[in-house]
Symmetry: C2
Subunit: 471 residues, 2 copies
């Protein structure tokens, strides 16, 4: 069993297959072009911001730990070709020192497989604009990216006299990563400007909900500039980024962080003739087997997943899905049986104490899917109104006309807002109508919820709206 | 439309009926024997403990506010008989002053109805043991009870010299109310002993989970005595409680709080020949109409509700259900259509920062229902393990053998543990199997959850156990 990519999906698959099969039954080799395995890229903003003390805390399982469990991890080893007919992959070692695991530097060799797992992940979008590769422009996709950014920050923060300098940081993109990185940079004491092309930050929310996130970010002192299309990076004579250029002007920058999103890393798979979807991700069956293949599986950020609401494939890179994919792949490759049922599109994030969550479809996604729907937005507190710390949260809910089926929920608010989205995520998975949701028996006690949980308040309003609309 | 009982179920019904019908179309009269309407009895422990500053904060809507909306609220007016054939109720005013709303003190009169709503609530269990009615023995069911307890505490806390006295408080019963009252009394600075007959506190949890609550309570300095059957209250010459007596000895007490549970207040309904269930609660149809009646509805703590897991009626007094009942009754009585779908038995509570939650069936309840099941208990953190403040929580899950259907979930842990039970509550409502739950798309980000949410960790383990058991 050969695995390409040593992060969540690949190494979960390896670990699960190993649980089912001994080393005599199944040899497992994992190729990783970087230096780390099984790490949490989602934790990078918290490492940069100082919540997490060191890189190593983000590593769930080291190469040594995997090796102890009988998984042959080869670091600094890039797979450069997949030969499906020959059932083999070509690798090139480019390790700093090479050595036992990685082989001599630059050497190419072929490794045969009976079972192949493609878990090549995603790469951050870097628009091909002038200066995008300049010094001081950073992605935050891998632990290596995180280290480079931290080094760059540490160097820039050291002023000539030895005092700590406040930097001008520009974050390009106000999605999850952009928002989390803004908070991290603010916590390091810098001046932060966030640029986004969209009308509001968090375009994973509807604009009216994104506006609440803008308020929260502005309140933290983050300069949020929307409708700002970046046209390039201005560099100095040393090739170092000095400003981010937009149609409306320049934003001076000592450091630039790119949080524009990611694309599936599927060049290798494409070259091997494997099927890709509209978003460039590998297409798989329910058992995470690549379509048309018998012994090739794929999972994690390099695949497209089935959206249970629109019933179409989409690219949704998220660690929690990658881990589930790995679990499913490892079970199947190990001779068991498991399937991945798809996603409903749940996500949660925060910027300081403002919690941001969504599940299901936004208005524009529902429209694109051909759905007609009602939309309601309510404000309710997360605890009994009289309980100390009861803070308002905004809940937006979409329900299909006629059927009343829940289509999506967005929540923005303080403590307790974010994970409440799980109620809607489970209801969505179960295909519940908003009318059915009004009867949900949720945990109630004054420190935890009003008698009508905010999600139920929204469901009641939505159900009433569905009835009012008729057909 | 005549309503008996002016708290959650009754007044929600009144308010909802009024939304649907004008005063010309429907006259609404609500009789309340006490002095308050629409209050949160669940908030009383937090008022006693000082989280909530005043009684009035617990009142969601005053009699005046109801009257302004065209609901004729008559306080201090007890309904003493229901004449179903004559479609009328007999009332006795025993208000302090009587007056416009209440009628002259002691007067009895008959009021006719076209539609009747019985929302008489529940009364705290007071075992008929010596001394149970002594001064210094308090229930905490109504706002009046809360006021009496606060007065009693204030008087006892005032030492002779003017300094504040530390009291010896004994709480009888270690269920939700007992646990919440223990915390309240600890927060007032008193020495608290809790007595319960059961093996562990929180017998709404399985004993192994109750043991975690005991640890938490003991850690707060609460003296938890289980297996302690109370045989009476020792009083002094003035008839004031001085100690709680158990088979094993006496527990000296300056104040005694009863948290033994409640029974449906259905004497009036029973006298009128209305049908009661095994737990003494009124039996209704899905529209909350009393069985066999055309124009009589009942809701709140005086009814039995349909348990969606055991598929039998049970008594489950909780404000969140009472409000839903009121909503359903008001809609139906107002000429609309709504049903109450039943409960899955979700409850959440806390003792300081220890959160306690359950939904569905305990082991003994599942056995009693004739179910065979697997049980798993896992420990997992509520945030990514590397994120600051990631605290372990214990999740116990029951799933039916063969079908793998989720039967129940219990969670005990720190921040973020309690409301996670909602995930299981919705899954239970949807009839999901634990295998289906393993694929749930829940909110994931390091400050909110590990990649595998604790509930999913438990579901995975339970699914594996179901498979292992076979038939």
């Amino acid at each position: 069993m050969v695995i390409i990519g040593g992060d969540a999906a690949g190494m979960s698959a390896a670990a699960q297959a190993r649980r089912l099969r001994t080393e005599d039954e199944l040899e497992i080799v994992a190729f990783e072009r970087g230096a780390f395995t099984s790490y949490s890229a989602c934790g990078i903003p918290y490492w940069i911001g100082g919540d997490v003390g060191s890189r190593d805390e983000l590593i769930a399982r080291t190469p040594e730990e995997h090796r102890k469990r009988g998984i042959d991890v080869r670091l600094h080893t890039e797979v450069t070709a997949i030969d499906l007919d020959g059932q083999r992959v070509r690798t090139r070692a480019h390790g700093a020192a090479g050595g036992a695991a990685g082989g001599p530097r630059g050497a190419e060799e072929w490794t045969g497989f009976d079972k192949l797992v493609i878990a090549t992940g995603a790469r951050p979008v870097r628009p091909s604009l002038p200066g995008m590769d300049a010094d001081g422009v950073h992605g935050v996709q891998s632990l290596g990216d995180g280290e480079a950014l931290l080094d760059s920050l540490a160097a820039a923060e050291r002023a000539d006299g030895g005092a700590r300098r406040t930097l001008r940081a520009v974050v390009v993109g106000a999605g999850y990563i952009g928002v989390e990185m803004s908070e991290a940079l603010i916590r390091r004491g810098h001046r932060v400007t966030v640029l986004d092309r969209a009308e509001q930050p968090m375009s994973t929310l509807d604009p009216d909900m994104g506006a609440l996130v803008r308020e929260g970010m502005t309140g933290l002192g983050i300069d949020v500039r929307t409708g700002a299309a970046v046209t390039g990076i201005r560099t100095d004579a040393d090739g170092r980024a000095r400003a981010v250029v937009t149609a409306d002007g320049e934003h001076e920058a000592d450091i630039v962080v790119l949080g524009i999103g990611v694309r599936p890393e599927t060049a290798l798979a494409e070259a091997a003739g494997l099927p890709l979807g509209d978003a460039g991700g590998l297409l798989t069956d329910l058992a995470m087997r690549v379509r048309g293949q018998r012994n090739v599986w794929a999972g994690g950020d390099c695949v497209e997943v089935f959206d249970r609401v629109t019933r179409r494939p989409r690219h949704l890179p998220l660690g929690t899905h990658a881990n589930k994919h790995g679990q499913v792949i490892g079970t199947n490759a190990g001779g068991g049986y498991a399937t991945f049922p798809g996603v409903v599109g749940t996500a949660v994030s925060k910027v300081c104490d403002l919690e941001i969550a969504r599940t299901g479809l936004l208005e524009r996604q529902a429209e694109r899917a051909g759905l007609r729907f009602v939309t309601v937005t309510v404000e309710a507190t997360g605890r009994a109104g009289y309980f100390p710390g009861a803070e308002p949260m905004r809940v937006k809910m979409l329900a299909e006309r006629r059927t009343g089926r829940l289509l999506g929920t967005q929540i923005v608010g303080r403590e307790g807002a974010g994970k409440r989205v799980d109620i809607a995520a489970v209801a969505l998975t179960a295909g519940m109508t908003v009318e059915e949701m009004t009867g949900l028996d949720l945990g109630y006690a004054p420190p935890f919820s009003p008698v009508w949980d905010p999600v139920l308040v929204a469901a009641r309003r939505a159900a009433s709206e569905v009835r009012a609309q008729g057909s």
